[in-house]
Symmetry: C2
Subunit: 336 residues, 2 copies
Amino acid sequence: MSQDQYTLKDIAKVLNLSPSTVSRALRDSHEISEETKRLVLEYATKVNYRANPLARGLKERKSYSIGIVVSEIANNFFSQVIDGIESVAYHKNYQVVISQTNESAERERFHVEHFYSRSTDGLLMAMSSESSDNSYLESLMERGMPIVFFDRIPKQVKSHQVITDNKRAAYESVQFLVKKGCKRIAMLSSSKKLSNSQERLEGFKLGLIAQHLEFDENLVQYCEYGGLKQSEIDLAISRFAELDYDGIFLSGDKLTTGYLQALRKYPKLAKKPIEIVGFTNSNLVDIFSPKITAVRQSAFEMGKKAAELLIEQIESRGKEVDFKTVLLPVELIEAE
Amino acid sequence: MSQDQYTLKDIAKVLNLSPSTVSRALRDSHEISEETKRLVLEYATKVNYRANPLARGLKERKSYSIGIVVSEIANNFFSQVIDGIESVAYHKNYQVVISQTNESAERERFHVEHFYSRSTDGLLMAMSSESSDNSYLESLMERGMPIVFFDRIPKQVKSHQVITDNKRAAYESVQFLVKKGCKRIAMLSSSKKLSNSQERLEGFKLGLIAQHLEFDENLVQYCEYGGLKQSEIDLAISRFAELDYDGIFLSGDKLTTGYLQALRKYPKLAKKPIEIVGFTNSNLVDIFSPKITAVRQSAFEMGKKAAELLIEQIESRGKEVDFKTVLLPVELIEAE
DNA sequence: GTGAAAGCGCTAACAA
DNA sequence: TTGTTAGCGCTTTCAC
């Protein structure tokens, strides 16, 4: 990096070759002699040659960059996913471009179209909670833009998907609570509309059935905004207070932390200690109080897997792909 | 977005103009008649024309993208900074490309050079803790790559810098502790080498002086790895245990959470309750236990400010800039 | 006020 | 096996 960027032409001139030969040599083409390849490679390494990605992208209609669309970056779960994405992209030489929607469908669309006009090679998306009309995404994909969805996936789209095995996670949470001696288990859930929530609720019910426990609709409270508004949680909790329960399953990150915050705020609502199991990807559960058992999603893995699938799809260049739905496990982490 | 990307040529053909005229019209050049401009603009809007950023970048040596280099993305503080950066970039129409170094100087350099070869327009960097030789950064800047440093800045570089007012933050933390009745205040510090740490230590001392308290070297423990290794913290804490102190100032994010984790692990080390003040940008301090007072950096603001300065510098196109050092305040958040 | 042409750095079809 | 040429989509100098 001790001087300005070398180009193919520069190298060609020095070695008395043509730019195309140099190009081919660098791409290890079979039609170039070993001797020439060696020469080119040697010199290229020496001057630290880097192909100009803009030029290459312009030519190849490829930018070697992938876009991420999430609702918020400053979020334990998403930032861990992004970490995973970056780690894969780094090794495969793709740039990672981020964008956030703040849960706005309009902003989501803006970003997606922007990525498109930038010849971004592919997209990794977790849908904003507000989005409903996804037809524009389908038409994009039809026109050849690979999109891999993770965490929050739109309905009925043909694409790779990487999600948490929500049903199983909820099921196991119940098993855990029962093992701890709980007989009446409450649940704090997000909006019934979200696929995530539905699956977790289903797993919750199955978990109860497996333990021959009755499902009591009163013991489930729904938060339309998934805990984005603390007031929602406060309300839910005050409703719970009148009921008798000895364990609770919190089915979302914000619900978990919101629940704990509410307990702090209204200590009398927490008359007796109960067993708490909740989704959260915070790294700091071990210093939370009261103690909870964390349902930790494989966020990093999710990012990795999604990025791998995306890059694979990108590099298969429009060949028929058979779309996968990858289910990732959660980990129950019990505070000591 | 209902068909494939239009090009200048497409528009030119339809309107019976030359591509160059269309280009000029779109860039609002004075040498194009109002009438033509109107025509072009109208049609361009109609077909939702977007200039191909790769082609433009290749030509203009500009990519309308800025790069972020941080040690880790999945980190409360940094992800909040990135949030701030994105919010500015979004409005100014720049893409945000992320990269992480995992504290490796080598990886840092790799990323920076990569950004350079990608014609990234500018960089936002928080140095990795491992980096020492920054001469390559200087030569980069000399060759016209704008870099704005935030949080962790290299020594002696001429550039914009956005950092926390560390001295003041530490000073105020001490005032706070004294107001709470503390007489013997301990401090857990990062490596003496880091500028951040030095400033916080200095503020700590000044704070003591202002309260006519004596600075006792024994009451300060240094963690070479800033708390990255829990063992470091455990050791420091066990040393503290033998001393008599009634308040502690934790001068870094990982130190704060690590300290709390250690208290949980070795409850006997926390013989008597003491007042705790510590840096942390976690949103969950209110559910930590024991209760602490959080020193919260203006992370979002830091990202915003840094991005604003960077884009301003980019768009001033190599004009002489007079470099600013922006000091941001912290907020002390007391648990209820 | 508009157009023709060159060129940014790269790849690939075609020639030799 | 290597070189020549054209062209990706854009901007800009130079001509008209």
